[in-house]
């Protein structure tokens, strides 16, 4: 299998390390239906070395790893979505967390536009 392009590899990393982990409990709850249990949406994110880290700090560390060709992507917009999702998880607000899905799709479109 050929190695992925650096932009795609970076996007995969963002999805794997941040988006998937942040969204997982929220998507489970949405699919199952019913009310959100207190604390159910909170996740323990980890950095590259397995140490606890906040979603925003993790996003910043991922931005630092982004290929130079992606300097024009709307990083701040996604950063705001990450902050809102993290806050939503703390407040048991399902919709705020799920909004990260569409924000990530927009980010992916922007990255693919630069490829």
């Amino acid at each position: 299998m050929a190695a992925a392009r650096p932009e795609q590899a970076w996007l995969d990393q963002v999805r794997h390390d941040l988006v998937k982990r942040l969204l997982w409990p929220a998507r489970d709850r949405r699919d199952l239906g019913g009310a959100v249990a207190p604390g159910e949406l909170r996740v323990a994110l980890i950095d590259l070395e397995g140490q606890p880290i906040t979603a925003v700090a993790l996003w910043e560390s991922l931005v630092a790893l982004a290929p130079r060709s992606l300097s024009a992507i709307p990083r701040q917009v996604f950063a705001r979505a990450v902050t809102a999702a993290e806050q939503g998880a703390a407040d048991d607000d399902l919709d705020k967390v799920l909004a990260l899905e569409s924000a990530f799709e927009a980010l992916a479109r922007a990255v693919k536009g630069e490829m």
Binding site: M1, A3, A9, L23, R27, D31, I46, G50
Partner: protein
């Protein structure tokens, strides 16, 4: 209950498995017998739920009384450098940025390093590997039949649980007691049909070429699952002289014919309440077919020379390697008996060449079976007496590796049979006219040659213990296959002529099929397989050629999946 060990840097997967895959038992580092979700330590932030790196996995596996049935292994491990494999990092760059990149590479592919180490220590341990799309996997691992790559590009846990469940079923169900079913769609279909027909009181007709294992299936699958309390009686009609067949089937009274010195029951009576397996039923002449039909309809039999009817109502399983429909058309088989055998529910046991994807694992199964058989025991004992293994020999520790022989990959307490991937490909491409029987003989023959070659090596008894390595060389495999005739098939596929105005031409083997759907799927399957080889596995090119459009790789991939053609299997052929 099958036991699973999860190796993941986070506890999320093991918790998910506990919650959603309750049909399995889990091996955890705490050794408590209760599931994590009801354990009070969970709330206290227990860190012993799963193995978080290779060292912890090694510790759990080394301590466990018995190996788990399966391992679920993540690919990406977010761990500090010191906890990553390989332990020796002297080859990593010294410069800070380059080193950071290299270490990150180790994290992204850590699961593969762990897999290698698991393979060295426990060669036959099945592994379900959680990968992400685009992971640059080692080609040798893609072809490893004990590893199932489960796509982990799924955001919700239920989908991942479903994928893991499917993977576990695939890995764990290929073998069932003495029967190796494999994973081919043909065998899956047969297995499903048997599950239903075995429980029916009606006769079952089993069709298949010679050596496909029809009698084995009757004995080890249909009879045990029929629920019958009576015995299983097996009769091969091709081995009994025609003159003796009536008495053999229906019994005879004393003096009914010359040599009938006492009353005796036939196989129908013996099998009453149980299962009667009549192999080669096409060998019966028309008159005996008529008598057989009468017995089936009445559930009673009258011995030769007698006038008393006796109960004889076994479940009849009839097998043949001939085309009974053609025999009916030729007037050599009674159509009423054919209809009584209910051709709509007959079982078709596929030829080995119709389930080539099963050959590697089947060969592994047969080699290990042969190594443990009574027939090879004297040679095995002689070998171990002369070449003792480093640790006490255990039958169950023996393994088969599809690679070049290395001491590192050899089991310290069992035989390790090595067969190269080239040899494996030759075996997979061979046509196996004798089917399973021929493959079983090949396995025994190959082991006998390997054992004898060691025993006949001149020299005294070595004092040092060494791994018991049996290398089945490519040349030996060629010789046992009769000169490698099977290679023609690969060449044929790789020389699939380039597409011109009239399209490609390909010679296709069409099985004696049970339905039009099966014929068309088999044609499509063979065409796609050949096209895959001709385009060097480039799905884009395949899509362009098949559908005339660019970017159709995904559609091709989907179609391959629908036809049961897995990419990693295709890459291995």
């Amino acid at each position: 209950m099958p036991r699973i060990l999860v190796i993941d840097d986070r506890d999320q997967t093991v918790e998910l498995c506990h919650r959603q895959l309750t049909q399995f038992d889990y091996l955890t580092r705490c050794d408590r017998k209760i599931p994590c979700q009801v354990c009070e330590e969970r709330e206290r932030g227990c860190t012993l739920k799963c193995a978080h790196d290779f060292r912890e996995a090694d510790e759990v596996l080394g301590r466990a009384e018995a190996l788990p049935d399966l391992v679920i292994l993540d690919l990406h491990f977010a761990l500090p450098e010191a906890r990553l494999l390989p332990e020796d990092k002297s080859e990593l760059p010294k410069e800070a940025h380059a080193r950071r990149t290299a270490v990150e590479g180790l994290r992204r592919r850590q699961g593969l390093y762990i897999l290698d180490r698991l393979r060295q220590a426990w060669p036959s341990l099945p592994v379900v590997m959680l990968t992400t799309t685009g992971a640059d996997l080692d080609p040798s691992r893609v072809g490893d039949r004990l590893v199932y790559f489960c796509e982990n590009e799924i955001v919700d846990s239920r989908s991942l649980a479903a994928e893991i469940r499917r993977a576990l079923a695939t890995v764990s169900n290929a073998q069932d007691g003495p029967v190796f079913w494999g994973k081919s769609s043909a065998m899956l279909e047969l297995r499903r049909s048997i599950d239903v027909l075995a429980r029916s009181p009606l006769p079952v007709l089993v069709e298949g070429e010679t050596g496909t294992g029809k009698s084995f299936i009757a004995e080890h699958v249909i009879h045990p699952r029929s629920g019958a309390k009576g015995p299983l009686v097996v009769t091969d009609l091709s081995t009994i002289p025609a003159a003796l067949l009536p008495a053999h089937l229906f019994g005879a009274r004393r003096g009914a014919y010359t040599g009938a010195v006492e009353d005796h029951a036939g196989v129908f009576e013996h099998a009453h309440g149980g299962t009667l397996f009549l192999d080669e039923i096409a060998n019966l002449d028309l008159d005996l077919q008529r008598q057989l039909l009468l017995v089936l309809e009445r559930g009673q039999v009258t011995r030769l020379g007698d006038n008393r009817s006796r109960p004889a109502a076994p479940k009849l399983v009839a097998a043949t390697n001939q085309d009974l429909e053609a025999l009916v058309r030729a007037g050599r088989f009674r159509s009423d008996l054919f209809m009584r055998l209910d051709p709509s529910t007959r079982l078709h046991v596929p030829a080995l060449r119709e389930r080539r994807e099963d050959i590697p694992e089947l060969l592994r199964f047969l080699l290990l079976e042969a190594l443990r058989s009574e027939g090879l025991r004297p040679l095995v004992r002689q070998f171990l007496a002369r070449f003792p293994t480093p640790r006490d020999f255990r039958d169950e520790a023996s393994a088969v590796e599809f690679s070049r022989p290395t001491a590192r990959a050899a089991a310290p307490d069992g035989f390790t049979v090595f067969l190269s991937r080239i040899a494996l490909r030759r075996l997979s491409d061979h046509d196996w006219p004798g089917n399973l029987r021929e493959l079983r003989l090949f396995a025994v023959n190959a082991l006998v040659h390997a054992l004898v070659a060691h025993l006949d090596t001149p020299g005294g008894t070595p004092t040092a213990r060494a791994p018991a390595i049996l290398d089945l060389s490519d040349a030996q495999v060629d010789r046992l296959l009769g000169g490698g005739a099977g290679r023609a098939r690969v060449l044929k596929a790789s020389r699939l002529p380039a597409a011109g105005d009239r399209g490609r031409r390909l010679e296709i083997d069409i099985p004696r099929a049970a339905s039009f759907a099966r014929i068309s799927s088999e044609v499509e399957r063979q065409y796609l397989r050949a096209l895959f080889v001709a385009t060097d596995g480039n799905l884009d090119r395949m899509g362009q050629e098949l559908l005339g459009q660019k970017g159709a790789a995904r559609k091709v991939h989907l179609r391959l999946n629908q036809l049961g053609l897995r990419l990693r299997e295709l890459k291995g052929t």
